[in-house]
């Protein structure tokens, strides 16, 4: 038994405390958000990092120094720590603020360019990202490559002075508004003995000749996803990201960042907040008189259970962020956060349905019925995006030596 216990991998990094300065930063963000809310510039929504595209809001954040926070100052960023960025991000998501426009660029493009990008690429994109003016997408999945990412078939052919991309990417959020995206493509023939070899990442400007972008409406009919088709799109050598052939390593090394952030458990937080308002009888959206509290022990306990889980998830997510900041890549812990966190996002929906008898209404302007409608209709995506939960559990099983 001694052996087995020590042999179990680390499932969660040690707890972290946020730096002292975080409190002031958090207060600033909250004050800004309160001002925006008071002016009714937007209403809190569920799943804002997919659906809340608002370029004005992104630029306002940038003006306050809250985009590209971890990008060094020489590239227009703010040289802040990932934990500072964490504080800003969790505040924005908890408020249900419209963060989709800058989301991908701020979360992963900036850090990737700092890690793998050339000086030219950094100069070209980072200042715009930090100003909230340059938006990015991600081109990984394909019609026949979802969870099995190594099977991508988009081809990169060597041509004079660069590469020529041909193939199709799908589920690219915001490609119809974005300026560029990172495409994962096969730059060398597939090797059955090493499926991860021969993949490369390319920075594709979405207005380049040969790029066609078509909407893939969500089940609601809303347009967030796109199909991006490349027909012999020329990519100059200067727009290869990192090393040719190192695409798999580059893509997977970012996954711990992508999987453990607050967006993996806060997508339906505004609904939880509205649920509290309903039960506490302080629903701000009630017209005229307040409904009055409808507290009973069962409701109180269920609400408490959700909040205990939320508090725990946040501590786990913060622990992973702290571990990332000190240079580790806690792949297992990140997978665990995403599995638990995205299931939690669904648990909020279950509770919202069971504890309060307000049916979802996608036609409502805002408020409980609208939050519930959006949450229900967006829920299938929670446990799919960023690697399905089943694939993530496979990663955890492998980490424990089971495969």
């Amino acid at each position: 038994m001694t052996e087995t216990l020590t042999r179990l991998p680390t499932l969660v990094p040690p707890p972290v405390e946020l730096p002292e300065r975080a409190a002031a930063l958090r207060a600033d963000v909250r004050a800004f958000l309160a001002e925006e809310r008071a002016a009714q510039r937007w209403h809190p929504r569920a799943d804002v990092w997919l659906s809340g595209w608002d370029e004005r809001f992104s630029k306002e954040l940038a003006r306050r120094g809250w985009l590209g926070m971890t990008i060094p100052t020489e590239y227009g960023g703010h040289g802040a720590s990932p934990l500072d960025r964490y504080v800003v991000t969790e505040e924005l998501l908890a408020a249900g603020a419209p963060v989709a426009a800058h989301w991908v660029a701020d979360r992963q493009i900036g850090p990737s360019l700092m890690r793998f990008g050339t000086e030219e690429q950094r100069q070209k994109f980072l200042p715009g990202i930090a100003r909230g003016e340059v938006y990015f997408g991600i081109g990984m999945s394909e019609p026949d490559s979802g969870s099995d990412l190594a099977s991508v078939r988009t081809r990169a052919e060597r041509v004079d002075g660069g590469w020529e991309l041909t193939g199709t990417k799908v589920w690219t959020s915001g490609a119809h508004h974005a300026h560029a995206f990172f495409a994962l493509a096969r730059s060398a023939p597939r090797d059955e003995n090493n499926r991860h070899a021969g993949l490369s990442q390319f920075i594709v400007e979405l207005d380049a000749p040969g790029v066609t972008i078509r909407p893939i409406p969500l089940l609601t009919g809303a347009h967030h996803f796109n199909e991006v088709v490349f027909d012999k799109v020329f990519i100059p050598d200067s727009m290869v990201l990192g090393e040719i052939g190192a695409g798999w390593h580059q893509v997977t090394s970012e996954l711990a960042f992508e999987r453990s952030g607050p967006e993996r458990f806060l997508s339906t937080f505004p609904l939880l907040q509205a649920l509290v308002a309903q039960i506490a009888g302080t629903d701000l959206d009630a017209e005229g008189s307040l409904a009055g509290p409808s507290i009973d022990a069962g409701r109180r306990r269920d609400l408490g259970g959700l909040v205990s889980r939320l508090w725990t998830l946040r501590r786990m997510s913060l622990a992973v962020a702290g571990s990332l900041e000190s240079g580790h890549a806690p792949e297992l812990a990140a997978a665990v956060v995403k599995d638990l966190g995205t299931r939690f996002e669904n648990e909020i929906i279950d509770a919202a349905r069971l504890l309060v008898a307000i049916p979802p209404d996608p036609g409502a302007e805002h408020g409980y019925a609208r939050l519930l409608a959006d949450a229900v209709l967006h829920a299938p995506g929670f446990t799919l995006r960023g690697g399905t939960n089943e694939v993530l559990r496979g990663i955890v099983a492998r980490g424990m030596g089971l495969r």
């Binding site: 001694t2 216990l5 707890p15 308002a277 506490a280 909040v307 559990r393 495969r403």
Partner: protein, 351 residues
């Protein structure tokens, strides 16, 4: 997980040794293990040196307690260090040596309010006192009084929890000399409750990890359909779910211990963190025990298999010192008092 690696290593070697030498049919105090803990200073880790302790922090204690839970150690560590030792010392009383236990319950003192007076008597019934039969003394928080009752002065009726750990009924009818009575510090009742819940939650988190470790090992060894059952995706998915629960329990309890260490037990942040951690660890307990037994099949359901040592503890401890339902109710009350705008500040601990 903890950054105090040496302490973790020491604790693990001690508890693992105790497990490998003890007979699994035994229950009750592991006297040999207790002696080792006394000798290494782990038995009174968080007590000040003046009270015979090691002056360790709560985060040190967290590391040791979760290890004790993982190896199903049969010792009153929470009771001695976090509860009885703390309470006696805080009340200005001498901390008795040997294993201790503690309970918060109202005893009757006659003449009333004169616990310190010569000839005072104390009577009452203490229900489900952990480890009472093996404790050298029982420290009782009764109203504003802290009483240290010698084991020999009380009558113990043995009882157990699902893990066959002593949960005894103690009948008190004894005279008190003034040395055994002190005044409880302010907020003692609330702190007692939080300390007990935090200690229990840390044990739970450890036991959950122990059950997962057993299950992963078993899944790698047990062959069915021509391969280890751990090669089947259905089993892998279940064990990954258990791992997530183990991670959640560890994160919650470590964070609560850290909060208590930094902010103190009187802080609202600690009350929230301990409540959430005990509730979350309690939730994890049921899920991990269920998966552990499912993976082990029928053999894990037998007396001869040692899986029960951790799973019965998971089932016991989740309901002791406040069940997840009770602590979630408390969190719910805080949430409703804070209202919708106070929810996020409550979760982040930043008003």
């Amino acid at each position: 997980m903890s950054d105090n690696a040496e302490l973790v290593e020491l604790a693990e070697s001690i508890f693992a040794d105790a497990r490998s030498t003890a007979s699994e049919s035994e229950s009750g105090l592991d006297a040999g293990l207790w002696k080792t803990l006394e000798e290494t200073g782990l038995a009174r880790l968080t007590l000040p040196e003046a009270a015979g302790g090691s002056d360790g922090t709560l985060t040190d204690a967290a590391a040791v307690l979760s290890m004790a839970g993982a190896y199903a150690a049969r010792i009153p560590l929470v009771e001695t260090d976090l509860l009885a030792g703390w309470l006696a010392h805080a009340a200005g009383l001498e901390t008795p040596s040997g294993p201790l236990t503690a309970v918060a319950a109202d005893l009757t003192v006659t003449p009333s309010g004169e616990a310190g007076a010569a000839g005072a008597r104390v009577t009452g019934l203490l229900a489900r006192v952990p480890w009472a039969r093996s404790a050298a003394a029982i420290v009782v928080l009764s109203g504003d009084h802290v009483l240290v009752l010698d084991r020999a002065a009380v009558t113990v009726t043995e009882g157990v929890n699902l893990a066959e750990e002593p949960r005894d009924t103690v009948t008190v009818d004894t005279g008190l000399d003034s040395g055994a009575v002190g005044t409880a510090p302010a907020g003692a009742a609330a702190e007692f409750r939080l300390r007990a819940a935090l200690g229990r939650a840390l044990l739970l988190a450890g036991a959950a990890r122990g059950a997962l470790a057993e299950s992963v090992r078993y899944a790698g060894e047990r062959v069915q359909f021509g391969r280890p059952i751990g090669r089947f995706q259905a089993v892998q998915q279940q064990l990954a779910l258990a791992a997530a629960e183990v991670a959640a329990a560890a994160a919650a309890t470590d964070a609560a211990a850290r909060t208590a260490a930094v902010d103190g037990f009187g802080a609202a942040s600690t009350a929230f963190a301990v409540a959430a951690a005990k509730a979350r660890a309690g939730e994890a307990a049921g899920q991990v025990a269920r998966i552990a037994h499912q993976v082990h099949g029928a053999i894990g359901f037998t007396r001869e298999h040692h899986l029960r040592l951790v799973t019965t503890r998971l089932w016991s401890w989740r309901d002791e010192d406040g069940s997840d339902a009770q602590w979630n109710d408390e969190i719910g009350a805080r949430v409703l008092a804070a209202g919708p705008d106070g929810l996020w500040p409550l979760v982040t601990g930043t008003p």
